[in-house]
């Protein structure tokens, strides 16, 4: 009685995407000697850390049928503010927490606009995307904030715990937390329910608005944390951080099998999707392919993966 679910569509999809990741890694390992080294893999993981952190919350938001374009801008404001707070003499940890709180606030504004005022999510978050980055430009006056940051500022992004980078450990912890939230908690269950069928969710007594706002708040909070981490890795606060980053996250989430209509998807898929994008970019770098071509590859991979998924799905649906 319990065997058949293993061949359920979502499990099948995960199998396919993990297969694709392994295939890409295998190909790169054959093509480049430097690829399969601890230093290189660690480097890729550090570069994809921000995508994975923000992607955890974005996956849940997109599963619930909503969308957020302001992720990159939230990263920028959180990154610059974490640096500015430090220059004000606030210690590093509280400075990070305060900058994360700013992201929470932007998430709350997004949630308020989309859920309570019924502004379409693309429009509302496009608005905050521009406005929030604008604020970051105004605050910094267009300058990089690097003076007076001290060594402590780079701890979050560059330090090691034993052999492992702190940023990767934190990313792993956040991923584990969100894997748990998505599959084992009411917030996770309700986000699938709302994305799957909003009217049924309402009739089933789910507080659809509350769940929607909470998800936007989570996206804002995690994007801000990713921004603070990136500023720390770069050792500078700059309003230019995370331009176009929202699309990196969306690519990872969609590659991971999350439907734009909502109702299905998983943070595990997003993780694999982020790694696919990260490894492809890294591999092309190692092979000496110009970054202009990398964007072409990224685009082709995204559309190709979604098409592949469609074809395979149609085939197994006897």
């Amino acid at each position: 009685m319990n065997r058949r679910w293993k061949f359920d569509k979502s499990n099948y999809q995960k199998l396919v995407i993990v297969g694709v990741l392994l295939l890409i890694m295998l190909a790169l390992a054959v093509l480049s000697r430097e690829f399969l080294t601890v230093a290189n893999i660690t480097n890729v993981l550090r570069q994809t850390a921000a995508t994975i952190i923000a992607g955890c919350a974005v996956t849940m938001l997109m599963v619930s049928g909503n969308f957020d374009l302001s992720i990159g801008s939230i990263m920028a404001i959180a990154g610059t503010m974490s640096a500015i707070f430090v220059t004000w003499g606030i210690p590093n940890l509280p400075a990070i927490l305060l900058s994360v709180l700013i992201g929470t606030l932007v998430g709350l504004i997004n949630g308020f606009l989309v859920i309570l005022l019924n502004v379409p999510s693309i429009i509302a978050t496009l608005g905050t995307m521009y406005a929030v980055r604008g604020v970051a430009w105004v605050i910094t006056g267009g300058n990089s904030i690097s003076r007076g940051l001290g060594k402590g500022f780079t701890v979050l992004g560059r330090s090691y715990v034993g052999p492992l980078p702190l940023s990767i450990l934190l990313t792993a912890a956040i991923f584990a937390l969100f894997y748990f939230i998505q599959h084992r908690t009411l917030l996770g269950k309700y986000s699938y329910a709302i994305g799957g069928n909003r009217r049924t969710a309402l009739l089933s007594g789910i507080n659809v608005n509350l769940v929607g706002v909470v998800l936007y708040v989570l996206v804002g909070t995690l994007s801000a944390f990713a921004g603070a981490m990136m500023a720390s890795r770069l050792g500078v606060g700059n309003a230019n951080i995370g331009v176009g980053f929202e699309f990196d996250v969306v690519v990872a989430v969609v590659l991971g099998g999350t439907s734009l209509e909502g109702g299905e998807g998983s943070v595990f898929g997003m993780l694999v999707g982020a790694l696919i994008v990260g490894f492809i970019a890294n591999g092309l770098n190692l092979l000496g392919v110009h970054s202009f071509y990398q964007d072409i590859v990224k685009g082709v991979v995204l559309v190709g993966a979604v098409l592949l998924d469609r074809v395979l799905q149609a085939r197994i649906r006897r």
Binding site: D8, K189, Y192, A193, N207
Partner: protein
């Protein structure tokens, strides 16, 4: 007029009346006007009328889906306010909606998630869901209601129409409904499954659940209901006991008085 193919099952007789479970006094929304009726524990109370007569809207008024413009609901004799379906569920009122696909089920979610969704209170702690519990509960309902499935982890969308309807009923029962609203409970369901759904409804009534059936099928109403409210233009034109039902008179009434085809 097209009435009465075959009456598959007959009305099995009334149950002993007990105290009123839900009473509506002069309930009005933008589409229904001054509805007054009451349903007792273990009673099957029907709403019959043409399409557009306001049956679904009467259900929506009780569930808190449409804003009340007047009137009052009483549950177990106490006045209650039901501003949304969540509150209705907390009070023990659940609905099997007319549109199974768009309002009743999560097609992409598992059967166990579908059954658990309206009541996680008993299968979660600190918002953490106990999957063993939800699977066990779903398994119990699958046996109870004879839902045919491979596994409770199966997607609800892969079940047949009749089995999907049973999942929606199971969801309502799992929410500890003491009053169950069924809007067109057998629409789009094959004949065999229809009989099963009727049997389930009768069993629930026998266990003391109050039941409101909203239907535009005369046979369904006649086979199930102890009393029937006939709806015309968003109003209750008459409330008849089952033994007072007469297909000719009923249809004359719901088509508008004296208007015989």
């Amino acid at each position: 007029m097209m009435v009465g193919k075959v009456v598959h099952s007959r009305y099995a007789g009334g149950r002993t009346p007990s105290e009123a479970l839900l009473e509506a006094r002069e309930l009005s929304t933008k589409s229904v006007h001054s509805l007054s009726f009451s349903v007792r524990k273990g009673e099957i109370f029907g709403f019959y009328g043409l399409r557009g007569a306001g049956k679904s809207e009467a259900a929506r008024a009780v569930m808190g889906l449409d804003r009340l413009m007047g009137g009052q609901l009483f549950l177990d004799g106490k006045p209650v306010k039901i501003p949304n379906p969540g509150q209705a569920l907390r009070l023990g009122i659940a609905m099997v909606p007319e549109e199974r696909l768009t309002e009743g089920l999560f097609m992409k979610l598992s059967v166990s998630d579908n059954i658990a969704v309206a009541n996680y209170r008993n299968s979660s702690r600190f918002t953490i869901v106990n999957e063993k519990n939800t699977s066990a509960v779903a398994g119990r309902f699958a046996r109870d209601l004879n839902i045919k499935l491979h596994s409770v982890r199966q997607r609800a969308g892969t079940l047949s129409g009749g089995n999907q309807q049973k999942v929606v009923i199971a969801k309502c029962l799992n929410a500890r409904a003491k009053l169950l609203l069924l809007d067109e409970p057998s629409r789009g369901i094959d004949v065999g499954a229809k009989e099963e759904i009727y049997a389930i409804i009768r069993t629930l009534a026998a266990r003391g659940v109050g039941i409101l059936v909203f239907s535009s099928e005369y046979e369904e109403i006649a086979a199930l209901c102890d009393r029937v409210a006939l709806m015309v233009d968003g109003k209750i034109a008459a409330i008849l006991k089952n033994d007072e039902l007469n297909i000719r008179d009923v249809h004359m009434l719901i088509m508008g008085k004296g208007d015989v085809e």
